[in-house]
């Protein structure tokens, strides 16, 4: 190809100077200006491109040294509001709310646990900390706030069956009871165990009534002791006289008046 070019240039016009034309040495390889492969730029063009490269403008002070802009994520979409309302409802309607740490459990275990707890009317709720925390901080349950870190679940129930709940949870090793709020009283794990050991309310009431009634009954028996003693003596006297009457029917029974 260079030979043909030379021939074309040299053979074309008359006033071509014989000799070496500098334009020819740049087409040594024979490729044209527009190629399908990447072609190296002319060295002058390379230099120009290097000099005119884009330099991004840098701020004088790096942005981390300045005061951080308060990016208020106040999106507050309806879903978040709905979840918050649900949490508030849960706190209002249920007497017993237990907070447990949830470490990942296989699915069937979760379903089984839910089943057993449902039998005792205890519902299992999965909660997100970022929803529960604002609800709690505004309500009166401020002391439950430090509990809501890492993954948690809530066990809620309108009845307070602590013993059955503890029994079910003992069978599930991956759920750890952290604390509970029973009848607006915040209890730790130890407190829940103690609460479970308490006897039933009716039994406790019966015991209290019995203890209270003990002293007055003692007083009444003391007061009646004198007259009871008298009646017992008179009865004995009658019996002795009756027994004596069967042997000798002359004596009349004396205890008719009393």
């Amino acid at each position: 190809a260079p030979a043909t070019k030379m021939a074309a240039l040299s053979g074309g016009g008359a006033p071509w100077r014989r000799g070496w034309l500098p334009a020819l040495q740049f087409i040594r390889r024979g490729s044209k200006a527009v190629t399908r492969h990447w072609k190296a730029m002319h060295f002058q063009r390379q230099k120009l491109m290097a000099v005119t490269e884009y330099l991004a403008p840098r701020p004088a002070v790096p942005p981390r040294c300045l005061a951080p802009r308060k990016e208020t994520l106040e999106e507050d979409n309806g879903y978040v509001r709905l979840l918050r309302r649900q949490v508030e409802e849960v706190f209002r309607n249920n007497r017993m709310i237990a907070v447990c740490q949830y470490n990942s459990m296989p699915g069937e275990d979760v379903v089984l646990m839910r089943h057993y707890l449902r039998k005792h009317n205890i519902e299992v709720k999965f909660v997100l900390n970022e929803i529960v925390r604002p609800v709690l901080s505004q309500s009166k349950y401020k002391n439950l706030l430090p509990l809501f870190v890492a993954r948690n679940i809530l066990l809620v129930s309108p009845e307070t069956k602590a013993k059955e709940m503890l029994r079910v949870l003992k069978g599930v090793p991956q759920i750890n009871l952290l604390g509970a709020c029973i009848d607006d009283t915040i209890l730790s794990r130890q407190g829940v165990e103690n609460f479970a050991k308490l006897p039933l309310l009716e039994a406790a009431q019966g015991q209290t009534v019995g203890a209270l009634a003990l002293l007055p009954s003692q007083t009444s028996s003391l007061l009646q002791r004198g007259s009871a003693h008298l009646t017992a003596l008179l009865d004995q006297h009658i019996r002795r006289l009756q027994a004596g009457e069967t042997e000798s029917p002359a004596e009349p029974p004396p205890a008719q008046s009393s």
């Binding site: 740490q101 470490n103 990942s104 430090p146 890492a150 993954r151 750890n176 952290l178 604390g179 730790s188």
Partner: protein, 108 residues
């Protein structure tokens, strides 16, 4: 920033792990997350015999992780000022070291 779920811990040389914390304190977050990560499927499958117990107290004591190894060694990590990732990497490095030792012993 390293993701804690990427740290592989092989629990074969571990006999038992006891995690003690008091949930009403404020410095228990990393310990609780550590407990959550240990109980993950991936790490539990490496050793089914390892018993993980969680001891929940209310006496203001600081969070503690007590690891008992199969060769009698004991590792106690006080999690009050440690992050979860630090605790996981410490445990992971020790487990790996023990594994290597056991492999060398079995090769001999």
């Amino acid at each position: 920033k390293k993701m804690a779920s990427k740290i592989r811990v092989v629990l074969r040389p571990v006999k038992s792990i006891v995690v003690r914390f008091c949930p009403f304190e404020s410095n228990v977050e990393s310990t609780r997350k550590f407990l959550g990560y240990i109980n993950h499927k991936k790490i539990q499958t490496t050793n089914r015999n390892c018993e993980v117990t969680a001891d929940v107290r209310h006496d203001g004591s600081e969070p503690l992780v007590d690891v008992m190894f199969a060769d009698g060694e004991r590792l106690i990590m006080k999690g009050a000022n440690l992050t979860t990732i630090e605790m996981l990497t410490a445990l992971g490095s020790r487990c790996n070291a023990k594994e290597l030792k056991e492999e060398q012993k079995s090769k001999k």
